[in-house]
Symmetry: C2
Subunit: 347 residues, 2 copies
């Protein structure tokens, strides 16, 4: 297996990326890592190049670059060369901690969509604090600013395969993020999506879920439009961080009494941080393109990079992309037939 790594993407690149690759190498002896980036800088953080190949390039897409422009113009950047390698079959998957928008654009325009699927979706795995499983996956968390009901249905299918193949959940419980649990809640798109999900017998659809319930483990796959999904994901992050900070500050401001308690609670806090740290599950995955595209947080450290690379390995190993491609290929004819039927109805 070959994984193309954008060694220059991320706030702590290339140091943490290269160190993460070194760590991942121990866990994944069957992987060859192809690192794209500045050879000299990469070499600073790696002595031994066992299972590692470096492809030198000076060009880098920065966090500030406008995504689509960057993908078009910076053809020799580390990210684009890595994506090209995947497209050309020289690598099985791409990993980056760089500019999210640019990676999305590279996934869509260079690696390309699976045939029969209109809109790929970005999925992130988050912790479930209650319920039967430790995690759930949510998509789309921002690949699309606008979605139709059909796209939401496709996200459910993508998530269903991801849940089964990669998260190893049997018959994942799929819920639609909506502003109420009743079937007729939400705007037109969500009402339509509810019906599409309900009528798809291949999905274990458990109904609408409200954002209040997300962390309570009542669903394994949460389907949402990219705008709402992005807002909710960032809000979970922000609120969780704010709450932990508030608890800490309040303890410290409670004087000696508080400080004693605070000291005693140190191990409790580190446990909580660990439980909430969803980068343990790896990065965000662009589902619906012809190869795994995995994005780690820009601020990732070596360990988080390693986790994401283990996840990339798991995805490639699971044959997820082939299963998705087969599914959409198989349903291509019925989709086309639907269009013909609709066309006839309209005439």
């Amino acid at each position: 297996m070959k994984i193309a790594v954008d060694a220059m993407g991320g706030d702590n690149a290339p140091e943490e990326i290269v160190k993460g690759v070194s760590e991942a190498r121990k866990a994944l002896p069957d992987v060859e890592f192809i690192l794209y980036g500045k050879k000299d800088e990469i070499a600073k953080y790696m002595d031994d190049f066992r299972n590692v190949k470096v492809v030198h390039t000076d060009e880098v897409i920065t966090m500030e670059d406008e995504p689509v422009k960057a993908v078009r113009r910076k053809k020799n950047s580390s990210m684009i060369l890595a994506a090209q390698a995947v497209k050309n079959g020289d690598a099985d998957a791409i990993f980056s901690a760089g500019n999210t928008g640019a990676l999305l654009a590279a996934g869509l325009f260079i690696i390309g969509r699976i045939k029969g699927l209109d809109r790929p979706g970005m999925t992130t795995t988050l912790p479930s604090l209650k319920g039967e499983n430790d995690n759930f996956t949510m998509l789309d968390v921002g690949a699309n600013a606008e979605s139709k009901a059909k796209n939401l249905h496709d996200f459910a299918i993508l998530g269903n395969f991801y849940g089964t193949n990669v998260m190893h959940v049997t018959n994942p419980r799929i819920a639609l993020l909506n502003n109420g649990t009743e079937y007729d809640k939400g705007d037109k798109i969500h009402k339509e999506a509810y019906q599409l999900l309900k009528n798809d017998s291949s999905l274990n659809f458990v109904g609408n879920i409200e954002s209040r319930e997300l962390l309570n483990g009542t669903a394994d796959v949460v389907v949402t439009d990219g705008f709402t999904g992005n807002a909710v994901l960032k809000n979970i992050e922000g609120t969780a961080l704010s709450m932990l900070k508030l608890v800490k500050e309040t303890i410290m401001n409670n004087g000696v009494k508080g400080k004693m308690g605070g000291l005693l609670l140190k191990s409790a806090f580190s446990q909580i941080k660990d439980q909430m740290d969803y980068s343990k599950q790896g990065g965000a995955v662009l589902l619906g393109v012809k190869a795994p595209v995995v994005k780690a947080h820009g601020s990732s450290n070596a360990n988080q990079v390693k986790n994401a690379l283990v996840q990339v390995h798991e995805i490639v190993d699971s044959k997820l992309v082939k299963n998705l491609a087969d599914y959409f290929e198989m349903h291509l004819e019925s989709i086309k037939q639907d269009d013909v039927d609709k066309e006839n109805e309209n005439n």
Copy 2:
């Protein structure tokens, strides 16, 4: 001043509602409270009817009732009679802890929209954990499932008046909830809304805000479409509660060491709950109708009911509704002129 109170709405009605009125009465000697509901049940929780009038009715809109149907059919319910009283000028404002959808429908269809405004919006005040002010207000949090850019602009105007008149913030900082801070982020509606807000010189527009930043006090009024706003509001609630629960459980599971710390931290936790308790700020307010419509949480206790009634008093006192009506009346001509201009452009 007269406040119409739906004495039967809410999980703990009429007991907590009636007790809340008793408490509010001490703080608001200039208010006459008109309580709508079952006379005998109300009398159980109130000995002295000073400044209180009871209008008896047996009919009640339940939490399970379908909102629009309930408003149409349960014409003698406590909520609808209270709304009718406001419409007829027998009361200045309505308060309920009952069925949110029904109260919205009663506000829109019975009390009615302000002239010149297409879509009223629901606003909620939330705590700012950092920044110069202790709170911010966010709207729309769910009055509308679908919004146009123009509606978002109107929400900003409503929020601006609310911030100035009721929250007493000078020149409130207004931000648009979006999936990135750059001006060109979001779907078509949010891009358009950004331009409308930027070009309205009457607003102190500070740009886009991401949901991650909401609690950090960088804005006084956060403008959002009702679908996203509802999702984010419920998500803040859910995540904050989950985090507090997680912290507590982790402490308890840390054995004696943890338990000691937990004991010492009890006062810290009660401080945090207090800081996060946004019902201190009162209820959610439907802005853009011809009288204040205030909704407290269904689970409100007497003290929370009292807080919401103090808020109702504040809103009536502030002449907010008159100021809004004057504004939209004044801009009615320019709105019409815009339509004419657009019409001409299209021809």
